[in-house]
């Protein structure tokens, strides 16, 4: 028998469970978090979600595309039913 130690950090016991994924976007509030690198793309995405799928979209802008959103912005986005974010600039 060999004994060794786990190299990973344990999952938080108090981690907030993810929200239930809605069946459709009809009437759903969406936080669309953007870094304004490509505003036409984000506007197009907003239009599609609003006109084709009936979502209620609110745009939030993070100050940098290469750093995490501030805590207040994350808390704001968490008020919505769904949040759309990007990673990996």
């Amino acid at each position: 028998m060999i004994e060794f130690l786990s190299p990973v950090w344990p999952d938080r016991a108090d981690a907030r469970p993810p929200k239930k994924r809605p069946a459709s976007l009809e009437g759903v509030s969406v936080a669309l978090v953007d870094d304004n690198l490509d505003i036409p793309f984000t506007t197009h995405l907003e239009t599609l979600m609003t006109t084709r799928y009936g979502a209620k979209v609110r745009r939030l802008v993070k100050p940098s595309g290469t750093a995490p959103s501030p805590a207040a912005l994350i808390a704001d986005a968490a008020e919505a039913d769904v949040a759309v974010v990007g990673i990996g600039l």
């Binding site: 786990s6 304004n36 290469t66």
Partner: protein, 354 residues
């Protein structure tokens, strides 16, 4: 022993090795098993409280406790005497200037290089000479991999999840060198960056892999080649500034010094001449323009270059000081250029090793 990590058991060595793969606790290579005895030896060596944390490693926020760092360092092959270097490297990477969160998740291929300076580099046999970015030396391999495994297991940016690197490079397994200080006419990198003479330190800098640079001859001939390599259109630096690293071999440095060039003379020449006409830069396309605009809007791209003037030659960094120069490698024909991520981060940070 005050070790609180979960204890895991396996019937034999083979089963243990496979368990690390099954749980995604390794980077793709087998590991040294982090037994409590091995981990304790590293902690005893540095005489630090096991539950002391250097901070949360992004993006998933696992705490870089001395215990967790020791576990990952053992897995990478570190002996106790390697562990202070691993700790200092993680401390440096957690400095906000390095923007580790971005470095670990960007689509760019940058990886945080660890450069070790001072007596500890020689004592630990960390290679600074022929084949410096290659294999064959335990210090480079074990420290480099111990650091990477800590980022892997505590930060949790993995390529099928939030590590979005389009290409990445082999430095993701281990990326650690020493600077050559004996065969070097100039002050060592860490002393330039504020550490006392005779001290030991690490400098981390997020960069691409080394670009070979056929660099031999007079100072003017060497600079001609270096400047061309540094301002390739594919580099982020040319579009969004940031920092870059030039590694000259000891013979290069000797040739410069014999002709009266200081390291700062070389740095300034490189900054003034590693430039491209704005027309070349514009021809790269609209996306590159958008990135530059984003950097200007964020206040990270100085306005002192008139980008609407067709005679403007665009620099690769905002200031000469953002060109880092280190001495390493064999006495031969080749230098290396390691472009950075750009103005987004990955900037060089230096930390003393106690």
């Amino acid at each position: 022993m005050n070790l609180i990590s979960e204890r895991v058991t396996a019937d034999d060595y083979d089963e243990a090795i496979e368990l690390f793969y099954d749980r995604h606790w390794t980077d793709g290579l087998p590991v040294v098993l982090p037994t409590p005895k091995r981990v304790q030896a590293l902690i005893d060596y540095v005489k630090r409280e096991p539950q002391e944390s250097l901070g949360a490693i992004p993006p998933k926020g696992g705490q870089a406790t001395i215990e967790k760092l020791a576990i990952n360092a053992v897995m990478g092959g570190c002996r106790p005497e390697h562990f202070p270097v691993v700790i200092a490297a993680i401390e440096a990477m957690l400095d906000p200037a390095h923007n580790l969160n971005g470095v670990l998740q960007t689509t760019h291929m940058c990886v945080s290089l660890v450069i070790v300076n001072g007596p500890i580099a020689r004592a630990l046999g960390i290679n600074s000479r022929d084949g410096v970015f290659g294999n064959g030396y335990r210090g480079n391999g074990a420290i480099g991999r111990g650091v990477r495994l800590a980022l892997w297991n505590l930060g949790g940016a993995v390529p099928w999840d939030t590590d979005k690197a389009t290409m990445s490079h082999p430095g993701e397994y281990a990326f650690c060198i020493a600077e050559e200080e004996e065969d070097n006419p100039w002050r060592p990198l860490h002393v330039e960056r504020g550490c006392p003479e005779g001290s030991s330190a690490v400098t981390v800098f997020a960069c691409e892999g080394p670009h070979s640079t056929f660099c031999y001859g007079t100072p003017e001939e060497m600079l001609h080649v270096l400047t061309d390599t540094m301002c390739a259109l594919g580099n982020n630096n040319l579009h969004v500034l940031g920092q870059t690293l030039v590694v000259l071999n000891p013979l290069n440095a000797e040739e410069f010094a014999k002709r009266g060039w200081s390291k700062d003379d070389v740095r300034r020449y490189l900054w003034e001449h590693a430039r491209r006409p704005i027309g070349d830069v514009r021809a790269c396309g609209v996306v590159h323009e958008q990135f530059r605009k984003m950097e200007r809007d964020a206040g990270r791209y100085p306005l002192r270059w008139d980008l609407d003037n067709p005679t403007t030659r665009v620099p690769i960094t905002a200031r000469p000081e953002d060109i880092h120069i280190a001495i390493a490698g064999g006495r031969s024909y080749f230098a290396a250029v390691l472009p950075g991520w750009g103005g987004f981060g990955g900037f060089a940070v230096t930390r003393r090793i106690p």
